[in-house]
Symmetry: C2
Subunit: 200 residues, 2 copies
């Protein structure tokens, strides 16, 4: 029923994170009703992203090509020796909002899984190790999800640090316990155990 150009466009949107065929078709209908100028400036915006943005060589966050580094890594007020290891860019974005730290990030891109192929993430851990070898007394904070995969990734990173004898690195992880607004009655066992262990 959809004309060819719209079918092709729908395929692109289906590959977007979290988007299924139904929402992809909604996007296509939305765009097909926009005025020509809207589509043109949308295309313009995609083009400037493609020509002006590249991933930061230091932390993998997107930054301006002409600066080589991202906004955070090129900021002289940032403490380059305190590194927050996160799974994805959105995690860094969320940590930035807390405004309580002044370090830099390192984006793995994906968690390391015991079952899936996650070669690129392992490659990133190697890059992190190389980077840390060059620093004097760096601090690494693992800011990974409290999920099976997040915890497996943390384990893998700790192992790699040991293997590479990174004894100069101070390594910590984000605290575990009750989330804000959570009720004891509904907390799972693991959360309760952590909350007890980390009481203050």
């Amino acid at each position: 029923m959809l004309p060819k150009p719209l079918q092709q466009l729908q395929k692109f949107f289906e590959k977007f994170p979290g988007i299924g065929p139904r929402q992809a078709s909604r996007f296509v209908f939305f765009l097909s009703k926009q005025p020509k100028e809207y589509i043109e400036s949308f295309i313009q915006s995609l083009q400037s992203m493609s020509t002006e943005v590249k991933l930061c060589s230091n932390c993998n966050l997107p930054g301006l090509k002409k600066n080589n580094l991202c906004t955070i890594c090129s900021d002289s007020r940032r403490d380059k020796k305190t590194i927050y290891v996160v799974e994805k860019e959105g995690d860094a974005l969320n940590l930035e909002k807390t405004n309580i730290h002044n370090g830099v990030y390192f984006v793995l891109g994906k968690n390391i899984s015991p079952v899936e192929k996650t070669q690129s993430a392992k490659e990133q851990v190697k890059n992190l190790v190389k980077k840390l070898k060059r620093e004097t007394n760096p601090e690494v904070i693992l800011a990974l999800n409290n999920t099976r995969e997040g915890n497996f990734t943390a384990m893998y990173i700790k192992e790699m640090f040991k293997e590479n004898e990174l004894n100069n690195v101070t390594l910590t992880s984000l605290g575990r316990g009750l989330s804000t607004g959570s009720e004891l009655e509904y907390a799972d066992e693991e959360t309760l155990r952590n909350a007890l262990k980390n009481r203050h």
Copy 2:
């Protein structure tokens, strides 16, 4: 934290139907990691949509510009006198999947609301009336959502048909009752009332 070109791109995605700032930023991160060729063919696809597609002058569904009408309206095997009035394109897409009818569609674009400004939808009802005046004994099936707004729209259309003395039109609405898989225990009163009335 995001470079300017990505902030601009995020704004575009925030206007997409059903997309908030968080998912918009996820889209932007996803695109910033794609190879240049991917972005180029995505842009290509948007461009062909913009140059090759326009809304069908008969039913408002998107169709190829060179054909003037959409695939359905330009199909000679379709019964042009049986018209399904739907709120949005996705509804037509879903009805097409049932394969049980051979008519054409008429997309309102939006439901008519008693509180919001819905001038464009009322304009579309006028267009529908004009179209029906030209047909001999057309059949109209109101395929609108069973919601307050969908029902208000149906009422408005019926009123307009009366006002314009469209006595030659056979007007029906989609049946109301228990959905497939729904359990009596959880059905709301209105659904039960309809199911009783329309028993067979």
